[in-house]
């Protein structure tokens, strides 16, 4: 019997969890992992080249044509994102608490103190698969925003 199963059964015997919950936990433990860690190159697309840049492209056009098109094209190296994330990991706890408070005031329920540097690294790694396309059409303007990695 492995250690996790023993812990679950102990929690059940102590009445900390119900039999249903114990069953669900054991089933979840036995199920094949839905995702694998980033250190597993086979699962993270070994043949897929690692993207080097995060691109943000904005195209805005007015139908009247008076203003002309506006284009923004930003290319940020992924290395810079990773370094920035490591810098964010150095933010002291009191500053994080203040940031949390400000976020909650704006209705964003994120607890920054719970985000660890390794989570942030993982977040940047998962940006590889990110593509965001936003198309907005008003009466006068057409805006297209594209965020992706390349």
């Amino acid at each position: 019997m492995n250690e996790h199963r023993r812990q679950i059964l102990q929690m059940l015997s102590e009445g900390k969890i119900s039999a249903d919950e114990a069953e669900r936990l054991i089933a979840a433990m036995e199920a094949p992992p839905a995702f694998t860690t980033l250190s597993d190159p086979a699962s993270s697309g070994a043949g897929k080249p690692r993207p080097k840049y995060l691109r943000v492209v904005v195209d805005s056009e007015e139908d009247g044509g008076h203003e002309g098109p506006t284009k923004v094209n930003v290319r940020v190296p992924m290395q810079l994102l990773r370094a920035g994330v490591r810098l964010a990991g150095l933010i002291p706890a009191p500053a994080l608490r203040r940031a949390n408070f400000a976020l909650q005031e704006q209705g964003v329920p994120i607890d920054l103190t719970q985000i660890k540097p390794e989570n942030l690294e993982e977040l940047v790694e998962h940006l590889n698969d990110l593509t965001v396309d936003v198309d907005q059409k008003d009466a006068n303007t057409k805006v297209k925003v594209r965020v992706y990695c390349e």
Partner: protein
Amino acid sequence: MIPFVAVVSLRDHESRTFRLWVPLFLIWLLLLPLAVFLSPFMFIACLACRVNPLRGVAVIWQILNALADTNVEVEHRSAGLSFHIL
């Protein structure tokens, strides 16, 4: 390696392009004495905030290294501005 040159390009409505090469290495050289002068204060600030000063320096160095190849372009009508760190 930290970037040594940045290129700022401006294009006006008549499609005239002005390109300015910014020697970043001169800026780094100018900032070096300032960084040395400020390092004791930064060290104290890091200790006060309970941040490992060596880790802080390492992260800032990583950011400087990673700046290379950053590119920002903005175009409006026929005018445009681009900023590229080499």
